[in-house]
């Protein structure tokens, strides 16, 4: 039997690592990848809680989170492609068109 505390801790730590990746890195592709890690951490917590409550609703919510992750990845990549065509770079610091 897996203690729920361990599951939630794992999800939290994965979420924290993904959050650090989003906030610290300046590479657009790595930032998107860190977003996937973040959603994975949330999914682990949802699956663990669903199991603890003896209900399939945890898995169902995690399923919807996966759908959101797929949509985010697809649109994010389209945006990255458009961005790289304009700027020839992955660097988020090149995005300073609105800087006064």
């Amino acid at each position: 039997m897996i203690p729920i505390e361990a599951v939630i801790s794992l999800g939290l730590l994965l979420f924290a690592v993904g959050f650090v990746g989003v906030v610290v890195r300046k590479n657009l592709v790595v930032m998107l990848m860190s977003l996937e890690l973040l959603l994975n951490g949330a999914n682990i917590i949802l699956a663990g809680l669903g199991r603890r409550l003896g209900s399939p609703r945890g898995s169902i919510f995690a399923l919807f989170v996966v759908m959101m992750a797929v949509s985010e990845a697809a649109v994010g990549f389209a945006l990255i492609l458009a961005y790289v065509r304009r700027k020839k770079s992955y660097d988020v610091d090149a995005l300073d068109d609105l800087k006064g």
């Binding site: 994965l14 959050f19 699956a47 003896g54 209900s55 759908m67 797929v70 389209a78």
Partner: protein
């Protein structure tokens, strides 16, 4: 007991791979570690008894999203190493605050225990999952399909090379 050991193995693998995704300089290496982290997470789902979620994780993440990442990196073929030109102190702050918060909440959970809750007793099998999904969550399910259609159209339009000039 054996389930706990397998869970711990996959948990450690997922965490280490996640950290490696974030710290790699080369984007391609990051993608490979992301595939590793995603598969380890699928293993965690299997040990948690969420077999459907684990299968979806392997099919959608490892088979879809990671391949999409690799395709985009290969198509763009930009061998650029983006410099991390943030000063040291803000970087340490940005890394330390989320990690310390996560560790603190994890420590509190492990020390105090998670509050007990009543069991819903709905069962965890595939049949129950499918019935609940299509009975109680039919509207969100259909909305998700509309979202995916919109994403399909939107991604094609955004990623198109040039806007087609429409005379109308």
């Amino acid at each position: 007991m054996i389930t706990l050991l397998v869970f711990a193995l996959f948990a450690v693998l997922a965490l280490v791979a996640a950290v490696l995704v974030v710290v790699q300089k080369n984007v391609m290496h990051s993608v490979l570690y992301l595939a590793f982290a995603v598969l380890a997470t699928a293993g965690v789902f299997f040990t948690l008894g969420a077999e459907y979620l684990g299968a979806i994780q392997i099919l959608v993440y490892a088979g879809g999203i990671v391949v999409l990442y690799i395709f985009v990196i290969v198509i763009v073929n930009l061998k650029e190493v983006v410099p991390e030109r943030r000063p040291l102190l803000p970087t340490v702050f940005l890394v330390a605050v989320p990690v310390a918060t996560g560790l603190e909440v994890a420590y509190l959970l492990l020390a105090k225990g998670f509050p007990a809750a009543g069991r819903a007793g709905e069962g965890l099998g595939f049949g129950t999952l499918a019935e609940t999904l299509f009975r109680s969550y039919l509207l969100p399910f259909e909305l998700a399909s509309i979202l995916l259609l919109a994403v399909l159209v939107g991604a094609v339009i955004i990623a198109r090379k040039k806007l087609v000039h429409d005379p109308d």
